[in-house]
C-alpha cells in the first residue's frame, strides 16, 4: 500500500499539500455519482486556501478524502493526494488506508480538522480537557498532568473564557461558539502544519462568527499554519483566504489569489456567483443577478463544460461538446473555460 509512485515529480519545497486529478465516486441507485471528478489544487506552507462552491460541488468530499475520512461507499476513482510531512518526506495520502498507521499519525498530529457541527466531533461523554489531553498524549510522550496543563494552555490560546473552569466541562455545557473554540483547541493540540476547516462558522451567529474568524486568522499567522478553508459564503472567504478555488459539480473551475477571484474573475460561473450575492451598502433596491436554472443532479452531469446549460456565454457546438481544459494566465490564475481569455479581455475593456 505504501509504495511511492515513481512517476511522480517531487513537490516544490514550499508545497505542503497537492491534489492532482482526484476523483471520488459514489455508486447510487440512480447511477454513478462523480462527486469529485478530477480536482487539482495545492496548498503551500502557511497559506490559506479557500474553497467555494454551491452544494453538490464536491468541496467537502474532497476535504474528507484528504483526511481519508470519506464515506464508506466512496470509491477512489483517480488521482493523487500528496502531503509533505514535518520531516520533509512526501506521503502519498491517496494510497493510504483510512485506518493506516500513517493516517492516524497525520490526523491530529500534522493535519488538524474543524467541522461545522462540533457536537459530532467532540465526544459527549468526556470533558473537554480529557479529550484534548488524550490527543496530546497520543502524539507526544507527556505525563497526564503535563497534558492537562497543555490542554489549559490550548484553551487559553483559543481565547476560551475561563479556561481553568471549561477544561472540566462537557461539550453540552458550552455554547456553539465555545464548542467551536474547543474544537479548534483540539485541532491545534499537536501544532499541525495544516488545518482543514469545513464550514466551521456556518452554524454560528454573525458576531460569534467574526470572533472565530479573527481567532483562526491570528492563530494561522502566529503558528504559520496552512488552512484549507471551506466557507459557507463569499464574505468569509474574502476575509480569511490568500488564494481561492471555485468548484462546480466536482471540478475546480477557477483558482487564483483572493483579489483575482473577487476583482478579476475569469470564469463565467465565478462572475455570476459574485453578482448574485447582496452586498452591504451596495445593493439596496437593485435586482440581484441570478444564474439561470439550478445545479444539475450529480448523476446527470451535462456533457462538455458542465456549466454550459446555465452559462450566459456558452457557445453551441463547443461548450456543450468539449470539456474545457484550464486556461492559465500569466499571474498564475487558472480558469476552466474555453473562452476564459476572451472573457477576461471583454471585462477589461468595460
Amino acid at each position: 500500500m505504501k509504495q511511492q509512485n515513481p512517476a511522480l515529480i517531487p513537490m516544490p519545497p514550499e508545497r505542503l499539500l497537492e491534489l492532482d486529478n482526484v476523483g471520488v465516486h459514489f455508486p447510487t441507485r440512480e447511477g454513478l455519482v462523480k462527486a469529485v471528478n478530477g480536482v487539482s489544487y495545492h496548498v503551500n506552507r502557511g497559506e490559506v486556501l479557500g474553497i467555494v462552491g454551491e452544494s453538490g460541488s464536491g468541496k467537502s468530499v474532497t476535504a474528507r478524502s484528504i483526511m481519508r475520512l470519506q464515506a464508506k461507499n466512496a470509491l477512489d476513482a483517480s488521482g493523487t493526494i500528496r502531503f509533505r510531512r514535518q520531516s520533509g518526506a512526501e506521503v502519498l495520502i491517496s494510497s493510504e488506508d483510512r485506518q493506516s498507521r500513517t493516517m492516524r499519525q497525520l490526523r491530529g498530529g500534522e493535519i488538524g480538522m474543524v467541522f461545522q457541527e462540533p457536537m459530532t466531533a467532540l465526544s459527549p461523554v468526556h470533558t473537554i480537557g480529557t479529550q484534548i489531553a488524550r490527543t496530546v498524549m497520543l502524539h507526544r510522550k507527556v505525563s497526564k498532568a503535563e497534558a492537562r496543563a497543555q490542554a489549559i494552555a490550548l484553551l487559553t490560546r483559543v481565547q476560551m473564557p475561563r479556561p481553568n473552569d471549561i477544561v472540566d466541562r462537557y461539550p453540552h455545557h458550552l455554547s456553539g461558539g465555545m464548542r467551536q473554540r474547543a474544537m479548534i483547541a483540539l485541532a491545534l493540540a499537536c501544532d499541525p502544519v495544516l488545518l482543514i476547516a469545513d464550514e466551521p462558522t456556518t452554524a454560528l451567529d454573525v458576531t460569534t462568527e467574526a470572533q472565530i474568524l479573527e481567532l483562526l486568522k491570528s492563530l494561522q499567522q502566529e503558528l504559520n499554519m496552512a488552512i484549507v478553508f471551506i466557507p459557507h459564503n463569499f464574505g468569509v472567504v474574502a476575509h480569511i483566504a490568500d488564494r481561492v478555488a471555485v468548484m462546480y459539480l466536482g471540478r475546480v473551475v477557477e483558482t487564483g489569489t483572493v483579489d483575482e477571484i473577487f476583482y478579476e474573475p475569469k470564469h463565467p460561473y465565478t462572475q455570476a456567483l459574485l453578482q448574485s450575492i447582496p452586498r452591504l451598502g451596495k445593493s439596496h433596491g437593485r435586482r440581484l443577478r441570478t444564474i439561470s436554472g439550478m445545479v444539475p443532479d450529480p448523476y446527470n452531469v451535462p456533457p462538455g463544460c458542465s456549466f454550459h446549460p446555465r452559462c450566459l456565454k456558452a457557445v453551441g457546438g463547443v461548450c456543450n461538446v468539449t470539456t474545457p481544459e484550464d486556461v492559465v494566465f500569466p499571474s498564475g490564475q487558472r480558469a476552466r473555460c474555453h473562452y476564459a481569455g476572451d472573457i477576461a479581455i471583454a471585462e477589461a475593456a468595460q
Binding site: R287, S292, G293, M294, P296, N300, P302, P309
Partner: protein, 387 residues
C-alpha cells in the same frame, strides 16, 4: 419591472440536459409515484422481507383452507397408527421414476422392547392422489364436501407428512388447523392492542400535558409487571368450564392488554415529532381544522410506521399464546393451536420416541422470524422520503 413569465422561463426552466424519452418517463414515474408505491419499491429491495412475505401469504392460505389442504380431520384418531413417523414422499421405485408416492407402513413390535415400531412395506406403493375423496367437512364452514387436496387411495393406510401423535392423529392436519387458531389469535390480539395503543398513544402525543404524563405512568407500570406470572394469574382466573372459543377470545384480550404499550409509545413519538413539522404548522396557518390536520397530515405520515410496528408485535402475541397454551393455561383441547400441539412434546419420552412432535415449535420459529423480517423491511421502507 421584468415580466414574470419571461423571467420564469429563463430562470427555472432550463435545467438538466435533455434526457432520452425512456429515462424521462422513468423519472416522471418516480416523481408522481404515490407514497405507497415508493414504500413498496423500497420494501422490495429487502430480500428476506419479500421471501418472508411470500411465506406468510402461503401459510395464511394454507390455514384458511386447512380443511381442504389437509388429508384428514384434526380430530380423527386411529388406534392402530399411534406415533407413526412421517411418511417419506418418494419418486423412485425399483430404480424407476414414478409419480410421487409413499410406501405403506407395517405396524410391528420390537421383539426386545415390545415397543410399537413402523416399517416401510417396500412392496406396497401408495401413489399420492390429488383431489381425493375423504372425510366430509364444510369448506370455509359453508359448503359440505369430501374432496381433499391430496391423499392416498387406500382406506387402511394413511399419509402422515409429519407423522402422528399419541392418538394416531395426523400432525400435518393438526398443524394447519392449529395455524388458524395461532395466527388469528396473534392478529386479533394485535388488533385489540392496536386500537388501545393508537387511541391512548394519540391522546398522549396530541394533547400532551397531564394526560400524557398519566398515560405514560400507566404504560410504565404495565411494562414493569413480569409478563408470564401476570398471564398465568389472569388465565388461571378463567373458569375451566367456559367454552373453549370464549376462552380463546379472552386469551387474546389478555395478551393485548399488555401488548398495547409498545404501539402506544410509537404512536406517541410520531405525534410528537409530527407536531413540530413545518407542514403541520403550515396547514394550521392555512386554517385547517384539528380534525383535518390529524386525518390528512398526521395519520398518513404515521400509517407506515404503525403497520411496521404492528407487524413486529404479531410475533409477541404468537409467542404469548404458544407459551400460555404450552403451560396449559391458555387454550385447551379440543381446540387445536400450536401451543396446544406443543403440550404433546412436553415430556422427554415422547420427544425421544417421536421427535416430529416438535414440528409445531419449528413452525412457531419460522413464523416469528418471518414476521420480524417483514417488520424490519417495512420499518426501513416506512419513510421513503428519509434519504
Amino acid at each position: 419591472m421584468t415580466d414574470i413569465q419571461t423571467f420564469d422561463s429563463a430562470a427555472t426552466l432550463a435545467p438538466s440536459p435533455p434526457l432520452a424519452p425512456k429515462e424521462m418517463a422513468r423519472e416522471e414515474n418516480l416523481y408522481t409515484a404515490k407514497p405507497w408505491t415508493l414504500i413498496w419499491w423500497r420494501f422490495r429491495k429487502h430480500r428476506l422481507a419479500v421471501v418472508s412475505l411470500g411465506f406468510m401469504i402461503v401459510l395464511t392460505l394454507l390455514a384458511i383452507f386447512a380443511d381442504f389442504m389437509s388429508p384428514y380431520r384434526p380430530i380423527t384418531f386411529n388406534k392402530l397408527n399411534t406415533f407413526a413417523p412421517p411418511s417419506i414422499v418418494r419418486i423412485i421405485h425399483d430404480g424407476q421414476l414414478q409419480r410421487p408416492f409413499i410406501y405403506a407402513m407395517k405396524r410391528t413390535r420390537d421383539l426386545d422392547t415390545a415397543r410399537v415400531i413402523y416399517v416401510e412395506d417396500r412392496a406396497k406403493v401408495l401413489p399420492i392422489r390429488f383431489f381425493v375423496e375423504g372425510e366430509s367437512y364444510h369448506l370455509l364452514g359453508l359448503v359440505e364436501t369430501k374432496t381433499h387436496f391430496f391423499g392416498v387411495d387406500d382406506k387402511r393406510q394413511q399419509i402422515n407428512l409429519l407423522g402422528t401423535d399419541s392418538l394416531g392423529r395426523d400432525l400435518f392436519t393438526r398443524l394447519l388447523h392449529g395455524a388458524r387458531v395461532t395466527l388469528s389469535a396473534g392478529l386479533i390480539g394485535v388488533a385489540f392492542s392496536f386500537v388501545i395503543g393508537l387511541t391512548l398513544g394519540a391522546i398522549s402525543g396530541y394533547y400532551g400535558g397531564w394526560l400524557d404524563a398519566s398515560i405514560q405512568r400507566l404504560m410504565e407500570f404495565i411494562r414493569s409487571i413480569p409478563t408470564i406470572p401476570l398471564w398465568m394469574g389472569l388465565a388461571a382466573a378463567l373458569p375451566i368450564a367456559w367454552d373453549p372459543l370464549f376462552v380463546y377470545v379472552l386469551i387474546t384480550i389478555i395478551l393485548s392488554l399488555i401488548g398495547w404499550t409498545h404501539l402506544a409509545r410509537v404512536v406517541r413519538g410520531r405525534f410528537f415529532s409530527l407536531k413540530t413539522e413545518d407542514y403541520v404548522l403550515a396547514a394550521r396557518l392555512a386554517g385547517a381544522s384539528e380534525y383535518r390536520i390529524v386525518t390528512k397530515h398526521m395519520l398518513p405520515a404515521m400509517t407506515s410506521y404503525i403497520i411496521a410496528s404492528v407487524t413486529l408485535a404479531v410475533p409477541e402475541m404468537i409467542l404469548g399464546e404458544t407459551a400460555l397454551s404450552f403451560l396449559g393455561l391458555g387454550l385447551r383441547p379440543p381446540v387445536v393451536s400450536w401451543g396446544v400441539l406443543l403440550q404433546d412434546a412436553q415430556n422427554l419420552r415422547s420427544i425421544s420416541l417421536a421427535p416430529w412432535l416438535l414440528a409445531p415449535g419449528v413452525a412457531v420459529v419460522l413464523v416469528v422470524l418471518a414476521f420480524n423480517f417483514i417488520g424490519d423491511g417495512l420499518r426501513d421502507a416506512a419513510d421513503p422520503y428519509g434519504q
